[in-house]
């Protein structure tokens, strides 16, 4: 029984965390947040992540990747969440996962090395406006290799060279298709998220040419959604842990009424409950990542538990962060709102907490 990160995985986590602290700290994040019309994709950060193998982590070794698993990938996602780092890391990793899972050898050779090296930014478009994250919410149709319809929200569409699109064919079966940036009939519209650490847009397809992924069938769509849910949950867990740690540190020192705020029992109990919740969410993400890596029969339950628990934990920890910083945490100059807004934007992605719970009921009733 070894339910923990290996020494190598811990070292990987430290590397990414230290890189962010040294080269892309909260001041750098602020630069991206305060430039909402910029592309939100700082190249120093991107190149650094590529250098560390953070983009290659899941790519097979024969395509210049590290050939590691989701347990390793969630290490990166947590570090990026803790650092509220901007950029299309998750989008690119998921595009590569789509190719790894469902692409032909030729498709993989063409795209995976570039994605692993950070030379190409990828993204995924798996859902339409107001839709569910289970394949039923797709609003793109495919006919004769042409896509029509729309997808929203899509991470970083403006900088993506490759877009993996979920589309429904004439028989109603969802599948995965590749669209290249600049394809005809493809329109990208900025949707202006309030989370300044991301850039999000809607895609419109009008007879846009697309290449099917070799085995991009329903199973592949579900597999991609599950991986998105777990890595997004890992980001949220990183956000939650860092928000909690900063709040605890602040309240340990800040005095009101002649004593540290953190000595008030009501705060202590709220923070204790959050610590338990965040710890459980960390466990859940780790387990779900491992379940996907090992094709555990309980994977679907594990993914839903992780998705639900992580988004609730991040939601609550970042709300508490603002409340328990007491005033200062509500200012623009303070970093609390980076964490708060990131948590709220990401919480519903790849399935809200409630959607995951409904999935759990369906799986266990």
């Amino acid at each position: 029984m070894f339910f923990a990160l290996t020494d190598e995985q811990q070292a990987f986590a430290s590397t990414v965390t230290e890189f962010l602290a040294d080269r892309f700290d909260l001041e750098a994040v602020r630069g991206v947040v305060e430039d909402p019309d910029g592309d939100g994709h700082p190249l120093t950060l991107w190149k650094g992540l590529a250098d560390q193998g953070a983009l290659a982590v899941l790519v097979p070794e024969e395509h210049d990747g590290l050939g590691l698993g989701l347990v390793d990938a969630q290490v990166v996602a947590r570090a990026l969440g803790a650092g509220v780092a901007p950029g299309p890391w998750l989008a690119t990793v998921l595009a590569a996962e789509a190719l790894r899972i469902a692409g032909s050898a030729e498709q993989q050779s063409r795209w995976l090395p570039a994605l692993a090296a950070g030379e190409t930014v990828g993204t995924v478009a798996l859902r339409g406006e107001g839709g569910a994250w289970d394949g039923s919410g797709i609003t793109v149709d495919v006919n004769d290799g042409r896509l029509n319809g729309s997808a929203s929200p899509v991470d970083y569409p403006a900088v993506a060279g490759l877009i993996v699109v979920a589309a429904t064919d004439a028989s109603g079966t969802p599948g995965l298709y590749l669209v290249e940036a600049g394809a005809s009939g493809l329109t990208v519209r900025d949707q202006h998220t309030y989370d300044g650490t991301a850039r999000v847009g809607a895609l419109e397809f009008a007879d846009t040419p697309a290449e099917p992924l070799a085995s991009g069938d329903t199973v592949a769509v579900q597999a991609l959604l599950a991986r998105g849910a777990v890595l997004n949950a890992a980001d949220l867990v990183g956000v939650a842990r860092e928000a909690l740690t900063r709040t605890v540190a602040y309240d340990r020192d800040r005095n009101q009424f002649g004593v540290p705020v953190g000595s008030f029992q009501a705060l202590k109990h709220a923070l204790a409950d959050l610590h338990v919740a965040v710890t459980m969410a960390e466990h859940a993400v780790l387990f779900a990542a491992h379940a996907l890596d090992t094709d555990d029969p309980g994977t679907a339950i594990a993914v839903a538990v992780a998705g639900s628990k992580a988004s609730d934990a991040a939601w609550n920890a970042t709300g508490a962060m603002i409340q328990f910083f007491g005033g200062i945490g509500f200012t623009w100059e303070h970093e609390a709102h980076f964490f708060y807004k990131r948590a709220r934007r990401r919480a519903p992605l790849f399935g809200s907490s409630a959607e995951h719970r409904e999935a759990l009921a369906a799986l266990t009733f």
Binding site: P153, F257, G319, Q323, G326, F330, H337, K341
Partner: protein, 390 residues
């Protein structure tokens, strides 16, 4: 139980409603209208509006006629709150002066203060700010560090205030200052009425997480104020402050309910627009908010009854604050939960602008902090209402 207003009060409602219908521009009723204006434009429009309203006799509803008020009943004030929200009238720019300072001056001000301060405030000729919180004194007001040193017949004031509403537009500020050197906690404080239009006073906007700046910071650097420009006695600032805060009567609950209920309806409309209104979980969450908003409305009627009967509300205002602030914040949590990914986008569709929703959403995080945090209010309810030991 009799939940009707008197005939005289209903007559007042009709007059006010008619006047509002004739005087509120249609564009003001558009969601997010005020956010399209610059801060200065918004301020000037509101100041002008307030002057017109005062001229028409619709300001100081409950104030005595001698102070330029209408001499109305608490019921009329509730009707005023309700109808102005309903008509999309903007909130007054002099809110802290009118709500807190004016009744305190009527109660303990000198005759000069009554004559000089109340009229211009009512007509918005002088905008008043409140200078209570400091960076090191948020929930704990007694930790005030801004100090005033007597120099002849003036105090020289140095220090910093924060969370000052309308700081950039203020003309004067009622300020808690430590006027007795070396004094501690509640002692040695004075409530000084300081002119903000002097070199020693600098106001800076305080940008919030929403990007807006409802609040500001005020810096005093050898600012000067006459020792007679003190409300209450010198050294009795804590007592003055407590009296002043006691005018937070919670009787504006009727207006708050009207405003929040409209926001609930707006959120329901968005839920429908994005196909989320049939989701049973979303319906539960929104209905849970409605329960609390309706309770706020009943509570407002209860408070109004107490006020009409001349009863001392005492610590009940802590309960009112908890109810409205938590209900309001929960409503915006529900907005995010119900709309899902679309909630986080300013332009989920080309034809939809959710920026005004985001402004309310992010603002909702502040209301459980300022004016006594929810934690402070719970302490008060537990100790002063339930009698639990300190």
């Amino acid at each position: 139980m009799d939940l009707t207003y008197t005939a005289e009060e209903e007559q007042f409602r009709q007059e006010l409603r008619t006047w509002l219908a004739e005087n509120i521009p249609t564009e003001w009723t558009r969601p997010g209208y005020w956010a399209t204006l610059s801060d200065t434009e918004s301020f000037e429009k509101r100041r002008e509006w307030e002057a017109r309203k005062t001229a028409a006799g619709f300001s100081g509803i409950q104030w005595p006629v001698e102070y330029g008020g209408r001499g109305g009943t608490p019921g009329m004030k509730a009707i005023y709150d309700e109808e102005t929200v309903r008509a999309h009238a903007p909130q007054t720019v002099n809110v802290l002066g009118l709500t807190f300072l004016a009744p305190t001056i009527m109660a303990i001000g000198t005759e000069e203060q009554k004559a000089e301060i109340i009229g211009p405030m009512l007509r918005n000729e002088v905008i008043w700010c409140q200078g209570f919180s400091e960076p090191g004194a948020g929930s704990d007001l007694a930790a005030v560090a801004t100090r005033g040193v007597l120099d002849g017949d003036e105090y020289v004031v140095n220090g910093q205030k924060i969370w000052t509403t309308n700081a950039m537009h203020g003309d004067k500020i009622f300020t808690i200052v430590r006027t007795e050197a070396g004094s501690e906690k509640h002692k040695g404080l004075s409530m000084l009425l300081i002119d903000m239009n002097q070199p020693g006073v600098e106001a800076r906007p305080l940008k919030q997480m929403s990007g807006a700046s409802e609040f500001g910071e005020v810096f005093f650097t050898d600012a000067r104020v006459k020792a007679t420009d003190c409300l209450g006695e010198i050294g009795q600032g804590w007592r003055t402050a407590m009296l002043l805060l006691s005018f937070e009567r919670g009787a504006s609950g009727v207006g708050q309910y009207t405003e929040f209920r409209r926001q609930y309806d707006d959120i329901v409309a968005q839920a429908k627009r994005f196909g989320r209104a049939d989701d049973p979980v979303a319906r539960q969450e929104l209905a849970r908010c409605l329960v609390e908003l309706e309770c706020l409305r009943y509570h407002a009627m209860h408070i109004l009854t107490q006020v009409e009967q001349g009863k001392d509300l005492g610590s009940e205002s802590s309960m009112t604050k908890l109810q409205w602030s938590e209900a309001f914040q929960d409503l915006w949590e529900a907005f995010e939960h119900v709309l899902g990914p679309e909630a986080t986008l300013a332009a989920p569709r080309p034809d939809v602008d959710l920026s005004p929703f985001h402004a309310q959403d992010h603002w909702s995080r502040s209301v459980t902090i300022w004016g006594g945090s929810s934690q402070v209010q719970r302490n008060i309810v537990a100790e002063r209402v339930l009698g639990l030991p300190r």
